[in-house]
């Protein structure tokens, strides 16, 4: 069975500081990995995804995530955060043809001025 663990429920950070949001998954088969972002009072938006190829994937707003098969991780990073990055971030995992899709419990990123 697959599962997704986001160890940090909340991450406070000051503006312009780097941040890493952790995501680990458990799976005995190949997986596809996703990060979604949910801004206050909104639905989720797909931030980035790993399907195959390069293990480092990037979003248009400066976030990146690296698929690490040996550590079964897909941590999300940004070298310098903005106030506008304050949101809840969800890691998700799927297998094969996306027939099963699992979300983590979410990490609230709070960027302080």
């Amino acid at each position: 069975a697959q599962s997704v663990t986001q160890l940090d429920s909340q991450v406070p950070v000051f503006e312009e500081a780097p941040v890493e949001l952790r995501c680990n998954y458990s799976s005995s088969v190949s997986v596809y990995l996703f990060w979604y972002v949910q801004y206050p009072n909104q639905g989720l938006q797909l931030l980035l995804k790993y399907l195959s190829g390069s293990t480092l994937v990037k979003s248009i707003n400066g976030f990146e995530a690296e698929f690490n098969k040996s550590q079964t991780s897909f941590h999300l990073r940004k070298p310098s955060v903005h106030i506008s990055d304050t949101a809840e971030y969800f890691c998700a995992v799927s297998v094969y043809n996306f027939n099963k899709f699992y979300f983590g419990s979410g990490t609230k990123l709070n960027v302080k001025p």
């Binding site: 997704v4 986001q6 429920s9 596809y32 996703f34 009072n41 909104q42 639905g43 989720l44 938006q45 797909l46 995804k49 969800f90 998700a92 799927s94 043809n97 996306f98 027939n99 899709f101 979300f103 983590g104 419990s105 979410g106």
Partner: protein, 114 residues
Amino acid sequence: DVKVTQSSRYLVKRTGEKVFLECVQDMDHENMFWYRQDPGLGLRLIYFSYDVKMKEKGDIPEGYSVSREKKERFSLILESASTNQTSMYLCASSGSTGFGPPLHFGNGTRLTVT
């Protein structure tokens, strides 16, 4: 831009009432999903549909049913609402051939059952 619209932002219902949550997407997507979102639990799939009149149970279908009579509309039905169904409900869609991950979400319906 794809738009997924949920008809109500907030709903308050009484225990035992029949509740309908409506979702409409405007991009002719095959796949539609209903999730519930609870603090500390992330999103859990209730039902999904990969075509008109087709549906499959997700991880927590108990107490819920769905209807997809038209491609653009996916309704979630609580036959007899209970207090443990108080939650945020999110609808999503995707256009992948076959089953694909949810890509476009509505803004959610916060349901309170008293």
